[in-house]
Symmetry: C2
Subunit: 399 residues, 2 copies
């Protein structure tokens, strides 16, 4: 069950203010906080060049990382490539926010997103954080969601309710990231809050599985940010006992759907993106092979420009699969565009199927299916197209 | 020593005609032939989806492949994804050309480039091949070079002479490929002809080393064609004994330079390409790491759009290196643009260096140097930028 807009999750409060990092007066400092202890989990970018808050977060003890109470995040400055002073700035922000909230040190996750290579104006954050902490409210979570945006055209938020034995639990999520621009900027921040009680190991497993099937399944341009962070906080405010069995499984399904919704909002928000395509590969030797093939298609500039131009260019799809370094036999390969089989057994199929496919690939979203016919491996990835706006934005944009 | 235009190599004749595959009457059938036995070597695309002539060529016995006398190639049709009939068409073209030239079967390499997934009109080739064979001439090699072009803006050819003990040998090369468009089309064909005598194992080794440092060092969009082919033919018409020692080494140097010239002509010919950048990575743990880092930069759409926009975006360069999956420590990394150090030890450097770099990155070509500071590994790659023309061409172009 999907609800619009509100993102009110029992036991969580949030807020956002302008502390003076962004030009103009758009909010650039966000806090979301649980009013009671949480179990939590955090995933960071795998980029070796990590921003200071990511480096700081990676250094947290596992026990700390699985019991965070919320997040303090700024936009407008990535605090990346800023050396020791950048790391010191994270510590100051963390300490001041925790103090203002009456929490022990290291109770909050810290994130930054924005320009790389400019010192973080920590003093502006410190000057604003106490006032923000005093103003947090249940209705303020969307405002926090706005305060983490950078080049996003719109905020991303989503709520789901899940019936479990004994009642209902709520999951709320906020995210930022305009796929096309983002990597140089700290692509993707996503935070999920739930009033379910979930034991730390269960939360960790469920969250990582859901991220693997959502954020890890979107491809914009194959770049990976210095700042990417995804986190979940479960505070048990529902009053229900810790989830297990069927309840945990239903929670996991809802979490995956919520994250996929947020992920697709990010893909669609690329200013340059006009279409989102789901490339599914089946019949591979292994799931790993299938994923490699899907990613080769999803990152191919030739495929992406053809999708932009509504150009039925299956030759580029099969050529991308062919260079993916996987086991395949071109004579067994099939390609479907929006359900129409345009390539069978490595040979072009009747032009009628192509003609039927042409109007379908003018849609905002559709599927390309590749069957390799050599095994049972399968995978999928969502990707955006590559058009003039991407060039315009990224040629001019200065990280 | 570099000579313009002529590509006359003693003992080789060539020619090109229009046989009716291309619309309009641009030449689309080429032959280059040695008037005497050769040693030869051929390299094909590593794409698993290979065109019929590539599949046919891969199937040649090693002995045949190292004693080919020349090449017959068509443009306008890639003969890819054409199944058994495609393979049968290659055999018919090969047999007919060899017969017309009075050679044993399988004496010529066969190549195709053009549209994927359309049956090769072999009858048109067969009808024209005898006339073409009768018209071959020493001055006709450039015409053969024109007959292999597809979307190329200009033909690529190059000649070098090398002094060796006892005299001089000549190397001539023709190539096709407009990098930006090419992969769906059969990116790259390159043929080198020399009157040097080179023993087959020496030719093989020298050619593969030269290709590794030229064609394998250019990146346009990371795609790899179904038709890529590079071949060399050495006929000994110089009358000099087989090269060895210093002579072979000088020959290898000239061959590498000639291939790099052809490769850079291909990169520059992308209609969308406005700049060519050499990304060099030093100080990596290994040469392999350095190459992975260089390729991550060279294929990053964010880096390529920034190069197009003359945008000094070193954040994107270092972020691309960071996700290359290699050993690195951001605190030791340095980045130079056109010689100006804009990032030192993972931190932004003075803005003055940036200001000095800005006018230099508006040039047609420049270098980006990344030093990782963790070892002695080094590598480099040339890449083109990503601009509006790329989108315009590839969104509309139908393979």
């Amino acid at each position: 069950m999907r609800l619009p807009v509100q993102v009110a999750v029992p036991g969580f409060r949030g807020g956002g203010v302008w502390c003076g990092i962004k030009k103009g007066a758009a909010p650039d400092l966000a806090i979301v906080l649980s009013d009671r202890p949480c179990t939590s989990d955090v995933l960071f970018t795998r980029n070796r060049v990590a921003a200071a808050p990511v480096e700081w977060g990676r250094g947290l003890r596992p026990r700390t990382r699985s019991s965070l109470r919320g997040v303090v995040a700024n936009s407008g400055n990535a605090n990346a490539c800023t050396g020791r002073e950048g790391l010191a700035a994270v510590r100051r922000v963390s300490a001041e926010a925790c103090r203002a909230l009456g929490l022990p040190d290291e109770s909050l996750l810290v994130s930054s997103t924005g320009v790389i290579g400019v010192p973080l104006p920590a003093d502006r954050i410190l000057a604003a954080v106490r006032g923000l902490c005093a103003s947090l409210s249940a209705a303020g979570i969307p405002r926090a969601g706005e305060a983490i945006l950078t080049t996003d055209a719109y905020p991303k938020r989503c709520v789901r309710k899940v019936r479990v034995r004994g009642g209902t639990v709520t999951l709320g999520g906020i995210a930022k990231g305009a796929g096309m621009i983002a990597p140089g900027m700290g692509t993707m921040l996503a935070y999920v809050f739930t009033d379910a009680a979930v034991r730390a190991p269960d939360l960790r497993k469920t969250f990582r599985e859901a991220v693997a099937l959502s954020f890890h399944r979107i491809v914009v341009d194959g770049d990976m940010s210095t700042n990417d962070t995804a986190a979940i906080f479960a505070n048990g405010a529902s009053g229900l006992p810790p989830l297990g069995g069927k309840g945990l499984s239903a929670f996991g399904d809802a979490l995956r759907e919520l994250l996929l919704d947020l992920a697709l909002m990010i893909v669609r928000d690329g200013e340059g993106a006009t279409r989102v395509v789901r490339i599914a590969v089946t019949g591979a030797r292994s799931d790993r092979d299938a994923e490699a093939a899907a990613r080769a298609v999803a990152t191919s500039p030739l495929v992406k420009t053809a999708v932009f131009g509504a150009n039925l260019n299956w030759g580029r799809v099969i050529a991308a699969v062919g260079r993916a370094g996987i086991e395949m036999d071109p004579e067994r390969a099939e390609v479907r565009y929006a359900g129409e089989r345009v390539l069978r057994r490595g040979m072009m199929i009747d032009r009628q199927a192509e003609r039927r496919a042409v109007p379908k690939i003018r849609r905002k979203s559709y599927g390309i299916d590749v069957d390799l016919g050599v095994g049972k491996g399968r995978s999928f990835v969502y990707f955006s197209d590559l058009g003039h706006e991407y060039i315009r934005i990224n040629a001019g944009y200065r990280t």
